[in-house]
Amino acid sequence: MFSAIVVGTDGSDTADRAVSRAAALARLSGALLHLLSAYSPAPVRVAV
């Protein structure tokens, strides 16, 4: 049914619920599960 599933997580408990559901769906359909955590890089400080 699905061959590739992407799940986004920030590591929080609520995101865990989405990851858990995504894992169950991946298992059920034999899909490859992609876990994704996006982040914003910290601002770069340049010493002069």
Binding site: M1, R21, A24, L25, L28, S29
Partner: protein, 139 residues
């Protein structure tokens, strides 16, 4: 994983993609499938052909469901039909609440025509659903 799945359809070709996905998920998980077609008081559904097109909304829905299940292969899935009247998204959510559904399946196109953004039905359902929502890519 799921025990009770609700799918919304207006019997259009795009909605049928959502029904097909819902049938698949119901079969894989052993869930009961609630097929909801809301009577908006508009013209006959496009995919209903022959004598059914002239029948009552309930009769039309019976025939449309039968035709749809023949096309998507509904064997072995326990199916319950719902034909409420009212606003589409509200009615789908109401059935999900009444039936204790753990998943709602809808198409991304919504049920009121093509849109560049997410259709109004999936948008509203996603905001008010009491459970998981699967938005099938039907645009």
């Amino acid at each position: 994983m799921f025990t009770s799945i609700v799918v919304g359809t207006n019997w259009s070709a795009t909605a049928e993609l959502a029904v097909a996905r819902a049938v698949e998920l119901a079969r894989l998980t052993g869930a009961r499938l609630h097929v909801v077609s809301v009577d908006e008081g508009t013209a006959a559904p496009v995919s209903v052909t022959g004598a059914a097109a002239a029948g009552s909304p309930h009769f039309q829905a019976d025939v449309a469901l039968e035709q749809t299940l023949e096309r998507v292969g509904g064997e072995g899935v326990e199916i319950v039909q719902h034909t409420p009247s009212g606003a589409v998204a509200d009615s789908i959510v109401a059935v999900a609440v009444e039936e204790g559904a753990d998943l709602i399946v809808v198409g991304s196109k919504g049920m009121q025509g093509a849109r560049r953004v997410l259709g109004s039905v999936p948008n509203k359902v996603s905001h008010h659903a009491p459970c998981d929502v699967l938005i099938v890519n039907t645009v």
